[in-house]
């Protein structure tokens, strides 16, 4: 079928909807990254088997969807039309759900969400605190559609923004809407999307490109992956609208090499859109043509940087180059190019459907709309959360994230990916927006959020991120290559008790140079973890350097283990487990630890049931 007008698109949508029964039961199994790791596909297969066995194949739909966000509780299945949320499923639970819920319209309480504190069981997804506080504009569609079905996307109103644009708006009007919405880039710098589009549109040249950055190399981040895997058409729709506005005929999606499912889903989406005439020549009979190609990432974190990404698309080594002439003027193959992040593109159709005003009513003065964060680390509710800009970090971490597990206390949160800063407890009430995060020494970045508890050593953490960036540096420019090398060495010395007070000054000098003189964004932001921890947790650095102590008890060289005679019951467990046999003692008598032999593996500390092994 080739749709040759907006009307035909709307007719098709009507036809799809009229063929659908909204009351038909559907089991939506989350197939996102978190659930995949917990064998959700086996659960899904079990549902398929069970439904056929019960002879319900034609009466019940089973959908494998993109990420639902609440990865902590995976594998997750939602049962429609009721909207019942089942969590932590295993294949053994499937038969019961089918019997009780699908057939008898009752719930299976033991599989429902239960809130430990409130001691209550919650049936519906929307009533669960984790979801209740969020504003899931982008992510919520994931559970409504099969990412491999363009019909599903059309059924939820997909491509209606494109229809509206091609049917009734000229490019300056679209541009105006995007500018008025206040949408800013979700991939890093937070650049105004409308202004970027305008610069590319106004740049001289017949051939222009639009590019989608799906390289997502931050450790622990999976926002873009989940959007692309779960709702690839929304990204495509945004790109087509962008291309129409900018005047581009060819687009690229640059997908991280480690994301085969995202790659597969987006390629299939492109094929489906082409078959319907939504992509390709003369889109919906409008006379506008646009094609999208998919490229696999170069496999390095730095390939996500705009100029490196473009070099990589050109088939060269993915290394950044100076950007004094913007890529909107000279980008891919020296032609005007507009690069946006996956999430940025996914926002576009929504803005055109609901209006710039609606969008700019969400958020703060300078940051509009919602932002997806991947909440990981020492947090109860690991997962993907989407909140309006301006929500406080405290609300995100404690109300949505459910706070810190194991009764531990919160220490810091790192936002913005590996080169973001660490924000301490007393700043948790700042609203999340581009400016405020930068002011406190961190950044929005692409939306990583790593929570740390009291057991984290901030010097060790700074060392970890510095080493990550050191390994990911392309090595082209001196400040980043040599600066990070030395920064890593100094931090290593400090964590091994070999630091000197002068080192703090040297770190600060190196940080200033990295920020001022590096060639690309990797180098200019690389000092954030060190600088922010030095700013908010300076006493920990000092403790390492002058007292040779690691207050969090993490840095191996600086801790000693010993046995507290008051607590030791002489059970002998530590003695049995100690690899170098550094612990001695008779049964039922106080044991003694020989610090000379101890290799500081910490096994005795972990195995002792009486808190008799001390670490200091």
């Amino acid at each position: 079928m080739n749709l040759s007008s907006v009307k035909e698109l709307e007719d098709l949508r009507k036809k799809i909807l009229s063929g659908r029964d909204l009351d038909k039961p559907c089991i939506a199994v989350c197939g996102g990254p978190g659930c995949l790791a917990k064998q959700c596909l086996q659960v899904r297969d079990e549902f398929i088997k069970e439904i056929s066995a019960k002879g319900l194949k034609s009466k019940v739909d089973i959908r494998t969807t993109g990420c639902h966000g609440y990865c902590e509780r995976g594998p997750i299945a939602l049962i429609f039309p009721q909207g019942i949320f089942y969590q932590r499923l295993s294949i053994d639970d499937v038969a019961e759900i089918v019997e009780e819920t699908v057939i008898n319209n009752k719930t299976v309480p033991r599989l429902l969400y239960s809130d430990v504190e409130a001691k209550q069981v919650i049936e519906k997804e929307n009533d669960i605190p984790f979801y209740k506080m969020q504003t899931r504009l982008i992510l919520s569609n994931n559970r409504m559609i099969d990412p491999n079905s363009i019909e599903d996307y059309l059924a939820i109103g997909g491509y209606s923004a494109l229809g509206k644009v091609l049917g009734s708006m000229n490019p300056p009007e679209v541009l105006d809407a995007i500018k008025k919405s206040g949408l800013r880039g979700r991939g890093g710098g937070g650049f105004h999307t409308g202004r970027k589009w305008e610069a590319t549109r106004d740049a001289p040249g017949d051939i222009k490109y639009v590019i989608c950055n799906a390289d997502e190399g931050d450790p622990g981040a999976f926002m873009d992956r989940s959007i692309l895997e779960g709702n690839p058409h929304s990204v495509l729709e945004g790109m087509i609208i962008g291309a129409y506005t900018i005047g581009s005929g060819v687009g690229y999606v640059y997908v991280r090499n480690e994301y085969p499912l995202a790659l597969k889903n987006v390629m299939l989406a492109i094929k489906q859109a082409k078959e319907l005439g939504i992509l390709g020549n003369n889109i919906l009979g409008s006379g506008f043509s646009f094609d999208v190609k998919v490229n696999r990432g170069g496999g390095a974190f730095v390939c996500g940087e705009s100029t490196a990404l473009m070099a990589s698309l050109e088939g060269k080594t993915g290394e950044p180059r100076a950007k004094y002439i913007h890529t909107s003027e000279k980008g891919l193959w020296d032609r005007p190019s507009n690069l946006n992040n996956v999430e940025t593109w996914a926002n576009v159709p929504m803005i055109l459907n609901k209006g710039a005003q609606w969008f700019s009513d969400i958020g703060t003065e300078s940051s509009k709309g919602t932002k997806v964060f991947s909440l990981v680390g020492k947090i109860n509710n690991t997962g993907l959360v989407e909140v309006p800009m301006g929500m406080t970090l405290r609300e995100i971490i404690f109300d949505i994230g459910g706070g810190i597990p194991g009764g531990k206390s919160f220490k810091a949160v790192q936002t913005g990916g590996p080169s973001g800063g660490c924000i301490p407890e007393n700043l948790l009430d700042i609203p999340v927006d581009y400016e405020r995060l930068t002011e406190v020494g961190s950044m929005m970045g692409s939306g990583g959020m790593i929570v740390m508890d009291e057991d984290t050593c901030m010097v060790d953490l700074a060392k970890y991120f510095t080493n990550f960036l050191q390994e990911e540096s392309c090595g082209k420019c001196v400040p980043c290559r040599e600066g990070l090398r030395r920064m890593g060495d100094i931090l290593k010395d400090i964590t091994e008790g070999k630091g000197r007070m002068d080192d703090i000054l040297l770190i600060e000098d190196l940080a200033g140079m990295l920020k001022d003189a590096s060639l690309c964004g990797l180098g200019t932001t690389a000092a954030n973890p060190v600088i922010s921890t030095l700013k908010y947790f300076r006493d920990e650095y000092v403790a390492h350097i002058s007292d040779h102590k690691c207050p969090a008890g993490v840095c191996r060289e600086l801790i000693t283990y010993g046995i507290d005679p008051d607590n030791c019951t002489g059970c002998g467990l530590c003695k049995k487990n100690c690899p170098p046999k550094a612990i001695n003692g008779e049964r039922k008598q106080t044991h003694v630890l020989d610090t000379g032999k101890c290799i500081k593996c910490g096994i005795c500390y972990d195995v002792c049931k009486f808190e008799a092994v001390r670490k200091e």
């Binding site: 080594t317 990911e472 540096s473 090595g475 420019c477 040599e482 002068d502 000098d509 140079m513 001022d516």
Partner: protein, 238 residues
Amino acid sequence: MSKKVEKSRGEMISFMLNGAEVQADPKWSLLEAIQFYGISIPTLCHDEGLTPYGVCRMCVVEVGNGNRTKLVASCMHPVTGGLNVRTHTSRVIKTRKMILELLIARCPSSKKLQDMAAMLELKEVRFDPLNDDCILCGLCVRMCEEQMVAKAIGYAGRGMDRYITTPFDMTSDECRKCGACMFICPVCELRCQGPQAETTLCSGCINTEPVCASIYGEAMCFMVPCLSCIKKPEDVKA
């Protein structure tokens, strides 16, 4: 090929250079314009006959107004109208010294780096020497490709492991043994074996920091080396 040859003269544009309004061809790089006005800027990865590469970052200058200023690599930055450029602010000098300190720690045996250290009055190197013999400025790679049209050498490795080599680390048939790479290399010429041959920093023969910079935050004249307009002879070390 050399980029300069391709350039034709455009309409001259004005910008501010160390407080004076000057004109330059918009096709020049900022570095070319600054050098045209006789101001000396240290460079390590730049050569007039080769495409700029912008990696040593020694050529940084401060641009912008008020407290909205930033450092840019002048060899890569185009001359644009209305730019406010300052070439020797304390921030610029501090950055250049830090970069040079890192490079000398990497390659203490280079005469060019040691001379530059003396020029910039770098007084200490706080890192352990690596005794490498390449600063990865890429001059040799560009020389070989652009002037000798041989493409016998290139980069390999990433990050701290980056190095210059022939394809697949094997003797290259493309190499004509012309020696151009060694001719242009800033590290191949060894420092003199003066009184302190073993130290990381040879603590040079000339010491010419523009002393005004530390007083005013910015050099007041641009006669580099300024020798000692303000310094008394007894301040100048032999």
